[in-house]
Symmetry: C2
Subunit: 425 residues, 2 copies
């Protein structure tokens, strides 16, 4: 089905706000030229001429957004999980990423990543590539062809990483970035570049300053890491003694929200000042519960961020996380919030199912614009999920079925997937 | 393949002890009349006449043991996960279990549970049924036919649960237990009965005393719950003011190890005295990380239990947990141990991959006798896992491949499964 105007019939469910699910049994979801025209209990006469796909008995849900994922780490997900962040970067990440200097290797490896995401529930992804321009363009080509929507970043790093991976200096990193941006120009419909300084320890001030200039010139968004791990934070403090807190080290170069739309992964240990600045600047938090668990980083105070009204979504952070699915990230976000409540801070209640669903749909989706729910005018990303195999004929409400999809479904239960009104398969 | 003497060729891996993996690339695992004759780099001449199945390139692992699972809760796994233990029992568990008064319903529902376990990586399970004798026998019949090995318990509960589920009094609960045991006699090869007082709050002293008598008369094993949740523990204290700690309330009726082989689920909050008594009495701990997370119970100090040398295995605790696979329980056990270390107690290091694998194989398997590894003379439970789909041609060591199986594999990757030398499919 390549037409972008059609009707889907089924049991439709999406978030209204973090506390509220909207759902319609045997509803009609109308797509007009890739945008949602809304959900209806009866199909309005004006839409009756549109092709209608009958998915009665299945759930129709919004596509999910992965706000933080490392494509080159996909190949070694689920390996070396007994390590903490800095040791894991040295042992696993950097040697693996160095191989992407060979664009042919990169294409082959990135193909596996893109195929996985295409089969799964995510429709939009915010992706780190590596420092290498040719392989990054291969990744973007593959994502473009997949029909997924993506922000993709060529990574910048000019210090504190192995020779085979470190860019020679700030100037050559910036030159490679400009070359990459030139090559992106006019090349993609679904994929957009995003500036990607890896994290403060791997970027000199000169590099960050230059990226700030490029940001202003090109009006690009920014992604990076923030306050993930205690050792990392101590290191940043040493590297930037004049920055009052970690986020400040980005902000002073214009890489922390405001005009530069920004998403920062983790924020496990953001303090009061950092939270205030993120709020002021509209910085998105990509909460990555599985990665923060696997790398023993800790548990981010997501309830606090929700209460503050921070922009907030979920990230798989493969390969800190071992699964790409944002359904899994929803389940994990709930689980770790329960443990945080029980073990360390009873002032912040656990996340609820509707809240986690909101974060994985509208929360992260809004980084891409109007998407993540079926509100009229939104770009229509939808999943048709056949939850009958694990419901065994039980009579369940739509919210109950949603809960089971989040906890129990696998990619094999996704019957059909649409991104901005286009069927991916 | 119904013959019980054969050879499996492939990449064999099992635990030697909690710290050590034993593995053999292109090895030969020999099964003689259901027992392991060992693993060999070259096939000894004396076994060359046996039928040999070539699983080159796949991993051959021991079957896993689920030390704690509620079969009647399988149908609502992944539902109501926003509740804590006592509320969840009232809202979800008791109404669901009441339906097993109808043996036909029970047979249908139990069939789904048994099919799931049969397809997955577990070969041995310690199962709670409900109070109902006919449905419990149906479950045992289904498990017997599946080829899985199981301990199954008709549950006892004569207080603090809804009318439809509560047994009238201690005498009738004991009479039903004896009736059930009589009906089990001579009926099963793979399945054995286990005494199953639900937990202290639902059993009067008279009932526990009677179960202690039955235990001594029949020499049966025992399973129950222990020190799972703070409210539950406070309740037990109120109900048994003269018991110094929770475990003591079982012990004084002869239901806590010693001659009564016992497994207690959870032990999240076991104190010094309770730990000492468990050790003295050889009581098994069934560590259920996913359930303890979902029900906001907390995180058990498993490293401590390992160091003390307690008997210890893993449980899915479906439906406090939503997944039956003990591979998942291994991953969860590692993850929660990392969070426990990070958030509340840096004196207990996180579990390692070999330790988690040990717990899910030898640790729990030993409750069933000699099984859980390929040591000579052990009952041979084996899984053939095809990990090629997620390794994408990478050259990995066997321990690395094992790590990825634990984190990434699903039931679809299990190519073949043997229990005590018998192929299940």
């Amino acid at each position: 089905m390549q037409e972008k105007s059609f009707v889907l019939k089924g049991d439709v469910c999406c978030s209204k706000d973090p506390k509220t699910l909207a759902f319609q049994k045997d509803g009609f979801l109308v797509c007009l030229r890739g945008l949602s025209a809304g959900v209806f209990a009866e199909l309005p006469a004006r839409y009756r001429a549109l092709p209608c796909r009958d998915y009665s008995g299945r759930l129709i849900l919004p596509g999910l957004t992965d706000l933080h994922v490392h494509a080159p780490q996909y190949g070694y997900r689920g390996l070396g999980m007994d390590l903490e962040l800095l040791e894991w970067l040295d042992t696993r990440t950097f040697p693996a990423e160095a191989r992407y200097g060979d664009p042919e290797y990169g294409e082959k490896a990135y193909r596996d990543f893109v195929e996985d995401v295409k089969r799964g529930p995510n429709t939009r992804v915010c992706v780190f590539a590596t420092v290498h321009v040719p392989a990054t363009l291969k990744l973007m080509d593959l994502l473009e062809a997949s029909g997924l929507k993506a922000f993709v970043g060529k990574v910048n790093m000019d210090r504190n990483c192995p020779d085979g991976l470190r860019e020679k200096d700030a100037a050559s990193s910036l030159a490679a970035t400009l070359e990459w941006l030139e090559k992106c120009r006019g090349r993609y419909q679904n994929v957009r570049p995003i500036l990607t300084p890896r994290f403060i320890p791997s970027c000199t001030d000169r590099l960050l300053e230059g990226l700030g200039r490029i940001q202003r010139e090109y009006g690009l968004p920014v992604q990076s890491h923030l306050s993930e791990n205690l050792e990392e934070i101590a290191w940043v403090k040493k590297l930037c003694p004049d920055a009052a807190f970690y986020g400040e080290a980005y902000r002073r170069h214009g890489l922390f929200g405001g005009a530069a739309k920004t998403v920062m992964a983790h924020c496990v240990y953001s303090g009061e000042e950092e939270i205030r600045l993120m709020k002021e600047q509209g910085v998105y938090v990509a909460h990555c519960p599985m990665s923060n668990t696997n790398l023993s980083s800790g548990i981010a105070p997501v309830r606090r961020y929700l209460e503050e009204g921070l922009a907030l979504g979920l990230g798989s952070d493969v390969a800190g996380g071992y699964a790409t699915s944002i359904f899994r990230a929803m389940a994990d976000a709930i689980q770790v919030s329960k443990l945080r409540w029980r073990l360390s801070d009873q002032s912040l209640k656990a996340l609820t199912l509707p809240e986690a669903f909101y974060l994985g749909t509208i929360g992260g989706g809004s980084f891409f614009g109007k998407t993540g729910s079926f509100d009229q005018g939104n770009e229509l990303d939808a999943l048709v999920v056949d939850d009958r195999p694990f419901n065994g004929g039980q009579e369940l409400t739509i919210p109950e079925r949603l809960e089971r999809v989040i906890y129990l479904s696998g990619d094999q239960h996704i019957e059909k997937k649409f991104v901005a009104g286009r069927a991916l398969w």
